[in-house]
Structures are given as C-alpha cells and as structure tokens.
C-alpha cells in the first residue's frame, strides 16, 4: 500500500514537472519579440553558448571522425570493401553521431552553464529584482538563451560533421591509403542530401531545443541554494542526455524507417 502510494506520488511529481516545463516553453515561445528587442543579449548568448563550445565540438569531431576511419578501415578491409569507407564515415556522422554527440557535448558544456547561471540569478534575487522592475524574466533572460541554443546546436553539429569527415579522410586516405577519388565518389553517390543531410540538421535543431529547454527549466526551477543549484546542474546533464538519446530513436524511426 505504501509503496503503491510512493509510486503514485513520484508519478504525480513527474507529471507536475512536465506540465511546468511545458508552461515555461509556452511562455518562451509566446514572447519571441524578446529576440528583436534584446538582439544584443541574443548575440551575447550566441557567444557564450555557441562560440565558447566551438573548441570542444571541433576537437571531438576530428577525433570521432578519425576513430571511425580506423575502425571502419579495419572492418571493411576484411571484406575488401575499403572503397565504402567514405560512405561509412559520412553516413554514421551525418545521420547519428553528429547530432547526438554534439547535443550531448552541448548539454555538458553549455546546458549546465545555463542552468547554473539562471539558478544563481535566482539565488541572488536577480530574478525577483527583474520582476520588481516590472521586467518579465522570461523574455529578458530565457528567450535570448533559448533561441541562441536553438541556432547554435545545428551550426555546431554541421561543424562536427564536416571536421569528422575530414578526420576520417585523414586516417582513411592519408594513413591507410584508401584511394581519395573512391573515398569521395562513393560518399557522394551514397549520401543523399535530402534524406541524410537535411534530416541530420532537423535532428540537431530538435536536440538543440530539448537541451536548452531542459537547461533553462532546471535553472528557473532550481532550489535557490548552493546544493539546489548543483543538483539542478546535474539534472540538466542527465535529463538532456536521456532525452536526446530517446528522442534520437524516435526521430530515426520516423525519418529513416521507409
């Protein structure tokens, strides 16, 4: 009886949090004029959310591509199919690894920072102060950050993919002596612009929304103490990662299921 009640209690809490998160998203989407009136803030957020994530994304992209090149070569050369190495690298990057790994890195690098920032502003009464100055904190703080995340993640994912392909090219063609012409020609004939590239971009937009939304929600609802903020930051990373991986499955099934 007791454990049934505790399950029910948890379930109700989860639902309540989901509803609050949805309401926050609605409030953000209802005030997009904040983007125009606070364009500078939007730019500043693009900087701290996007530009500052460039390094980690680029380095990870190159190394993931290089690892794909090595592993792909080892496996494909057993079947004398090294010529499809380019396809193997590009397809896995563009369809899956690019959007997913970028989103996971983004959640760790930028999402946690967003949560901590908003949570700390709440703890230092800056959110209340804004409200008392008759400024809506959602449109002043959350809207520019949300759209900065939404714009940054697809750009970062595209860079991750491009650098990954180049990393794979370096290993496959440079170190393993796969023919450069075959590498590109096979890739180009097998990777479809609409099906692969566009779908990959759509995925990364969705992941960008999910990661930024979760980060802002956790910060906004954080318990305004040091412990509360540290918990909220952890939750941001955990929830974002799980949501991205789960959503990836759904999107993959919808996009590539034909």
């Amino acid at each position: 009886m007791n454990w049934l009640a505790s399950i029910g209690h948890r379930g109700i809490n989860v639902l309540r949090n989901l509803a609050r998160a949805l309401l926050l998203l609605l409030a953000i989407l209802r005030a997009p004029q904040g983007l125009v009136t606070r364009f500078r803030e939007f730019l500043a957020q693009l900087y701290s959310v996007g530009v500052l994530s460039l390094l980690i994304i680029s380095v990870s992209g190159v190394f993931v591509g290089m690892v794909l090149g090595l592993q792909g070569y080892y496996i494909l050369s057993r079947f004398a199919a090294e010529s499809t190495l380019g396809v193997f690298i590009a397809a896995s990057l563009v369809r899956e690894l690019g959007p997913v790994v970028t989103a996971l890195l983004f959640a760790g690098r930028a999402g946690s920072a967003l949560t901590a920032e908003i949570g700390l502003m709440k703890a230092t009464e800056q959110l209340s102060a804004l409200e008392m100055m008759a400024v809506n904190p959602v449109s002043r703080l959350l809207v520019p950050r949300f759209f900065a995340g939404l714009v940054s993640v697809p750009l970062l994912a595209a860079m991750f993919n491009a650098l990954g392909v180049l990393g794979g090219y370096f290993v496959g063609v440079g170190l393993m002596d796969v023919d450069a012409g075959t590498f590109w020609a096979q890739m180009q004939s097998q990777v479809d612009f609409n099906k692969d590239i566009i779908n990959g971009v759509i995925k990364s937009v969705v992941f960008g929304v999910i990661c930024t939304w979760i980060a802002l929600f956790q910060g906004y609802e954080a318990v305004p103490t040091s412990e509360g903020i540290s918990r909220a930051t952890t939750r941001t990373v955990v929830h974002s990662s799980l949501a991205v991986l789960g959503m990836d499955f759904v999107l993959t099934a919808l996009m590539f299921g034909d």
Partner: protein, 163 residues
Amino acid sequence: MANSRFSLLTEAAVGAMMLLGGIALFFLAMQVSNLGGFKRVSGYQVEARFDNIGGLKVRSPVTMAGVRIGEVSSIGFDATTYEAVVTLDLLPEFNQVPTDTFAKILTQGILGEQYIGLDPGGSEQYLQQDSEITMTQSAFVLEEIVGQFLFSKAEESATGGGF
C-alpha cells in the same frame, strides 16, 4: 557605450561561428552528399538500350576500367520495343570512347549497387553527343539465373536419368 569594444569582439566571434557553420553545411552539401557530388561540366550524352536494367538508377555511376567517367542521367522506356532506354552522361575529357564499346550493367560486390561498366572496342571512331551504344548486356538478375539453373538441372535429370 562603455563596453563597445567587448561587444564588437563578441559580434565578430559570433559572425565567425555563423560563417564556419555555413561553410560546414556547404561542405556537407557539396562534398559529402550527392547534391553537388558529380560536377556537371556539360559532358556529352550517349544512349544505350537494355532488355533489363535491374536496379540501375539515375545518377548511378558509369565506369570504364573501374574509373568513373560519367553517370546515368535518365532512364526511359521504349513502348514499341519494350526496352529500357538509358542515357549516359559522360565527362568531356573522356572523349575517345570507341563506337563499338560494350555496355554492361554490373553490380558492386555481391549485393552492392548497380552501375554501368564500359568495355572499349577496337574502333577508330569515337562516341559523340547522341551516339548509341549498340552492344549491351542486361543486368544480372539473381532470381532469373537461379531459375535457369534449376530449370536446366531439372531437364538434365528428366532426360539423362530416366527414373
């Protein structure tokens, strides 16, 4: 404003990120995917007729000695002869393909994509815009081959064995 220098730097950095992202997307579109893949620098078109093209598609590669020299630009159907009419788009630098070249529909590996392989003949005359390749070999359709094999086996045992 007092912090205009900082915001100029910020704006420049954001601009650089946008630019890099754009270049990356362009690279993905043109170099990685089929969008810009095979440059169409006004090659010349030749036609080939096949009884069966199997899984050949528009943009499938056309190769000679394993080197890609063009691609399939269109696939049509001739309703009077019941043949598939395939237009090949060959790159202009490969302009010395003999007229008696043999076109075969081949498969990459055992289960791979299908493509057209050209075996050069010995003619001194070369294919030009709108020439036709007359010697063709249709796609290798696994079911037909297996069917033929079983049929001939059955015939063999019917005539030879007799019990």
